[in-house]
């Protein structure tokens, strides 16, 4: 991996400055079954294509954000702040 990624605050920076936390997951609501829980904790879609991922500008401003990345080409189509941060 050696592409550039645009932090919503700092702009395009080498990917080495970031930590990737993997594709977004849907946390189950109240008391999932063991199967649902296992799906959520251990299984990922691992798509060959565009997926939405969590990234943190760890060696930079420290912000967590979301990125739509094509896993085949490492092309980043869009970066965005999570919903929780948009209002503030």
């Amino acid at each position: 991996m050696s592409f550039l990624l645009a932090c919503p605050f700092c702009g395009p920076r080498p990917v080495d400055e970031y930590a990737c936390f993997g594709e977004i997951t849907k946390r189950p609501s109240d008391s999932p079954t063991l199967r649902e829980l296992t799906e959520y904790v251990y299984f990922r879609d691992n798509v060959a294509g565009v997926q939405r991922e969590w990234w943190q500008h760890r060696a930079g401003c420290g912000e967590w954000f979301l990125a739509d990345r094509d896993t085949r080409t490492n092309e980043v189509l869009e970066v965005m702040l999570p919903d929780s941060r948009k209002s503030s």
């Binding site: 592409f3 943190q56 967590w64 954000f65």
Partner: protein, 863 residues
Amino acid sequence: MRLERRDGERIDRSRAVSFTFAGWKITGFEGDTIASAAFAAGKRVFSRSFKYHRPRGLLCCSGHCPNCQMTVDGVPNVRVCTEPVREGAVVEGQNVRWSLDFDFMSLTDKVGGPFTPVGFYYRTFIRPRAAWPLYEKFLRSAAGLGALDPHAGHTRRYDTEHRRARVLVVGGGAAGRAAALDAAKAGPGVVLVDEDARNRDLELPGVEVLAPARALGIWEGGLVPVDADTVLYRFRAERIVVATGATEQPLVFPGNDLVGVMLPEGVRRLLRDYSIRPGERAIVVGSDDETLAIADELVDVGVEIAKVVDLRDVRPRELAAQGRKGRVRRLVLDGESYGCDLLVASGGWQPAYSLLAQAGARVEFDDSLGVFVPTELPDGVEAVGSVTGEGLSRIASEPAYQGKGKCFVCVCEDVTTKDMKRAIGEGFDSIELAKRYTTATMGPCQGKLCHLSSIRVYAEETRMFESAIGTTTARPPWAPVELGLLAGRDLTPTRRGSIHWRHEEAGATIQWAGPWMRPYAYGEHPEDEVRAVHESLGVIDVSTLGKLLVEGPEAVQLLERLYPNRFGDMKPGRIRYGVLTSDGGRIMDDGTIARLAEDLFYVTTTSTGADAVTAWFEWWNAVWGYDAEIVNVTGALAAVNLAGPRAREALGRLVEDPDDVSAEDFKYLDAHELEVAGVPTLALRIGFVGELGYELHFASPAGEHLWDALVAEGAVPFGLEPQRVLRLEKGHVIVGQDTDSESNLYSAGMSWLPKLDKDDFVGKFALEHFAQREEKELLVGFTMEEDVVPAEGAQIVVEGMPVGRVTSARRSDAVGRVIGLAWVPTDRSEPGTRVEIQVDRLRRGARITQGPFFDPAGERMRS
């Protein structure tokens, strides 16, 4: 044979430079390369070939071929044809038994030929299997390049630098310079890199020139790493212009590797740059005007031209070089013999398209030129000059000429036309497979001089068109690179707390603890430090603990959702132990949480967990969006733990009012702000080591001052090892040592901790499931029956079967036994159960215990 002074020469005849070359003292001039100085002094053999140990001399003089690789001042595989002379340098031959001029291993060339065909080692050295290490040792010493000195250590320092450019031009030839100047008209940010040291002083207005520097490849996202000796530039450019030109190809004919067979460019450099007459009697063979023109240049400096062969006019059936002692003596052309000591032969020019292919360009065979050219360039990448095929002459030579002797396709790996044919005969019917089997193009030149030849020979043998065969994949790096340069400088900082030098002064044994340097113990006897804590007073530097401030109107909601514990009911000034779990219910980290005010919490983490916990907190808060801020203050604050029966009394003397630390006003698990020895301090009454204790957190710069004040009060410094004994006596778990990525709160014996009636928290769903099932194994304590200490990781054995493992074990004077923690199957976890533990080679008895080994009611730490 140095000539009279000539116009354009690059040597400074007024400045002599001396060095030793294979034991000989050689004097050249400033501006010489090691190879040119040695050649001028009459040296002709520079290396021995990879497999047959044939003598090899200068071929390309351009830093491409393997022929002049030598060890210079201990650095192996240096191409001395581009390495400037250095006063006092020691240059030695490599892959040689005895000397460059007489190599014992060259017997493989004379007698080994029929026995060492392509791939012979795959087939020959199979049985017996037991001899594999022996074969390996022999083959490694018999074949190969320079040897590294494994004990050499770091001799050079390498750095990595990230660079941006608007336009990056690779290659400083005419086309590259023109492109750079053109780009510079539009503004700044133009960089040109060129591998040729002769361009060191090149100046182009508005262009930054890096030379000698070599673009190693074009990686994903347009990353271009540039090797500038001890600096690796990682370039990113809006536009990359590739002007890498074309590489002159050797002609393939028997004897084409003899010393004295050279490429025209090599001859031209010796002549023009270093004013050396490269031979006495020369023959020129080629198929383009530029090559043939060299004959006139040679005549000008007094070289006799024995023959000029224009391969466009003649199509010889036989063309072979013959020599004596590895040096060329004559050219045999259709039965006629011509004497010479220099044979200038060119097979034409092949575009150096590797970088373009790496960037995603397609490579096609151009039938009109007879070479491979790049097409369909990706966005942001351009090609200019001869790398596109522009200006090149059609290749008129045969793929290979017939005659007597070994005919080399690949000089790096000693692959002959016979080897290629044999590989095809054995069924390696794709060029990629034939490449791997013969290893042609896989040597140090990375195919620069043999890629085209090997495909042409392959095409001729299989009667296929080059266009149908295609080409092998071009991979980075484009040229050999020192591993040290890729590794760069180690930029992981060593962390030391602000009190660190006091520990050094006290003679502590310092050890690594994650990224930190910490005292193991202060003397030879850690047990003395343990006793001091139990009997009077000790102090340990715990500045390495992770420390976070969590503040905001919703700080308490955030922590309630991060931890399985409850915090909402905590009063300001109180402390709670907390364990972080993942959503899979596994233990991640532990520490203490002090509520300093309604909306302000002070969280400590393990020493190695600070960064991960900070990121974890921030991530969940990005998900949930609570109105709370997280600040990592690990480095800003120092911390010490003052522990022992005398702790209250000692601390009382350092604060304004001793009543501030009285048993009534400062209870166990209280957090108070105190001024200790004049330092504003957050004091936490906690008991990791099991005695009355205060953990003092304060600004780092006051570290030594406070430490000195505590030591002056009689506190005995204790290190990590005594602390491990003390906490083990209490049965306190160290996350990451006693737990692993599978451990959960129930299996680790902390079922009291999670509050499952709480609203959602991270790990709740998993813990709900764990609460209803029986764990397969549990973390328990044990005492040894005998006075032996099992190793961490020692097996627990029941009925001869390994069923569990020891995670911690120490000898405790306070308990009077060897104690420890271990994972055992649930049905063996009853207190009193006897198990056996493997200690060295013997099984020793142990009894399972429950709870702390020392002061089980915790009266001492609560006192």
